[in-house]
């Protein structure tokens, strides 16, 4: 696909994809990358990083590195799962609202704006506190069903402008049913918007899952980066000087976020060439410098 090949030529996208792929691979091959189980006590509490325990141990004597790479699975799963759910709901509602217009649009728009204006995190906190110890699956589900609003807005406005285009009008005149037009004519032109929306949702889901778990609303028996933060915080890791316990999941989250954000920025640049940064003017700058011309 054209977008894919353009992505591969964009430096930011390549770096982002490399980071993402690395994390995914580490997550998949986790059991083979470490001899320790993430939930067994394998060392003394709060041991500093050493050749045996690359990232040290937690207060309960668990190997931090093992927990980190096993935790990657959960964080990635929730991230992509919830991200997918958010994107699907948002895109479907957005296309329908934009294409159908009229009452349907009014209704969808009204609810979307309402969901947008109620602050996200407080709402999630209230939900999660009622649910109790939310497993990653539950977290993914509530994220999916509360966070679609932004995607609807963006998709709807793009659909609105596409709606007026000739190829849509001719499809209508040919008598194509609405669902076909939406799925086969409009949707393919929204790929970059949907892509950005998807990756943005994944970032959001990863961050929010970690946040919820950090606050103690997750299931403490899960092995995920958020729970690692929660455990470290409860163990007062920073005050006792066990920085590895806390910083490992911190840096892992930062790295994943960075990788995804780079990909997103790259997609945005490709879709909106005007927003591109750097690089294109090199030849021009050189020519001006040697005096071949001026502005």
């Amino acid at each position: 696909m054209k977008l894919l090949s353009q992505l591969l030529h964009n430096r930011k996208a390549v770096v982002g994809l490399v980071i993402l792929t690395l994390i995914i691979l580490v997550a998949i091959f986790a059991p083979w990358l470490t001899e320790y189980s993430p939930v067994k006590r394998v060392g003394r509490p709060h041991q500093a990083p050493s050749p045996e325990h690359w990232l040290g141990t937690t207060r309960l004597g668990h190997d931090v590195f093992s927990r980190l790479i096993h935790g990657a699975r959960v964080s990635l799963a929730v991230g992509f799962g919830a991200g997918l759910l958010i994107t699907v709901i948002g895109t479907v509602l957005g296309i329908i609202a934009g294409y159908k217009g009229g009452v349907i649009d009014e209704i969808i728009n009204f609810f979307t704006n309402m969901v947008l204006v109620v602050p996200n995190l407080p709402l999630l906190l209230v939900l999660a506190s009622f649910i109790g110890q939310a497993s990653p699956l539950v977290i993914a589900i509530i994220l999916g069903f509360t966070s679609w609003a932004w995607g609807v807005r963006v998709t709807r406005s793009e659909t609105l402008s596409l709606r007026q285009r000739d190829f849509v009008k001719s499809a209508e005149m040919l008598g194509e049913p609405a669902w076909r037009i939406m799925a086969l004519e409009i949707f393919p032109n929204l790929i970059s918007i949907v892509g950005i929306n998807f990756i943005g949702s994944v970032i959001f889901a990863v961050i929010t899952e970690a946040t919820l778990e950090f606050l103690g609303l997750g299931d403490p028996n899960t092995v995920s980066w958020g729970i690692m933060l929660y455990n470290a915080q409860n163990a007062s890791a920073l005050s006792v000087g066990a920085w590895w316990d806390l910083l490992s999941p911190c840096l892992a989250l930062a790295l994943l976020g960075l990788g995804l954000a780079l990909i997103n920025f790259a997609i945005d640049e490709i879709a909106n060439p005007r927003l591109r940064t750097g690089g294109m003017l090199n030849r021009w700058t050189r020519m001006v410098r040697v005096g071949e011309g001026k502005l």
Binding site: L281, R283, W284, K294, L295
Partner: protein, 272 residues
């Protein structure tokens, strides 16, 4: 003729791409005399607007004016001016009316503010004096001074067009460049604007570089006309000659492609 108001010599402008360049203007040379109405005609993309922008050096990268080009305004090479001199030069000697006057006015400033900032940028002038001058200029284009406190969106399209012309004349420029100013307007309004420009021209003595793709319109109002094709100036002559005895094949084809309302039917010539 006495020193030309505008003298373009070997103007070459390229758009520099990542690997290849696009040649927008190729070795174009022509002069405009003081008080002359000069039309530059050609189809879209032939480079006429590129030339217009170059006179005030308004281009942004990746445009590049190749060395060897000369743009002389009243004898001074614009391309040699440093930043501060260029800033002072702009609007004072050359003013420009853009394609859609609707969008040429800053939506968040009042009409008065848009006179004030240009007057202030070029001279020490008090607020009151600026307001007086603005009122004077608006009168030139038949707009009442009470419109000064209005915002652009509160004026009609035609009025905005006239406001832009008034702002253009604020510093008594010697050359007014008009880049397709009438394209989006109907023929009646077109005529009015061009008549007004003509009246002002006789009164204030400026030259006009008029850019359009409408050759028929241009012949009616211009003293001399230049025809551009793909970056090159293929023919320059006075308007009547361009009309009656076009020399270049392209010019001939341009005329042939225009349907006439009267006269015998002419055989259609195929255009490439």
């Amino acid at each position: 003729m006495s020193q030309p108001v505008l003298s373009i010599r070997h103007l070459t402008i390229d758009y520099i791409g990542a690997e290849t360049d696009f040649s927008a203007v190729r070795d174009v040379s022509f002069d405009i005399a003081p008080g002359e109405f000069f039309g530059l005609a050609g189809e879209s993309g032939c480079g006429k607007s590129t030339i217009a922008f170059a006179v005030s050096r308004l281009h942004k990268p990746p445009a590049l004016i190749r060395s060897g080009s000369e743009i002389l305004v009243n004898g001074r090479d614009v391309l040699d001016l440093d930043e501060e001199a260029l800033r002072a030069f702009r609007w004072r000697e050359v003013a420009m009316v853009f394609q859609s006057a609707m969008n040429s006015l800053n939506p968040v400033l009042t009409i008065e503010a848009q006179f004030h900032d240009v007057l202030r940028a070029h001279s020490r002038i008090s607020r009151a004096q600026a307001r007086e001058r603005a009122a004077e200029l608006l009168e030139l284009v038949d707009i009442s001074p009470d419109r000064l406190s209005a915002y652009p969106h509160q004026c009609s399209g035609g009025m905005r067009q006239r406001v832009v012309i008034a702002i253009c004349l604020a510093l008594n420029p010697k050359l007014l460049i008009m880049d397709e100013p009438t394209t989006a307007l109907d023929v009646v309004v077109q005529r009015e604007i061009l008549q007004r420009i003509d009246v002002l021209r006789r009164k204030l003595g400026f030259s006009v570089l008029f850019i359009t793709h409408d050759l028929g319109l241009m012949v009616q109002v211009s003293d001399r006309i230049g025809i551009m094709l793909e970056g090159e100036l293929v023919e320059v002559n006075d308007a009547q000659t361009i009309y009656r005895h076009p020399q270049h094949t392209y010019t001939q084809r341009l005329w042939a492609s225009m349907p006439r309302l009267q006269g015998e039917q002419i055989a259609r010539e195929a255009l490439p």
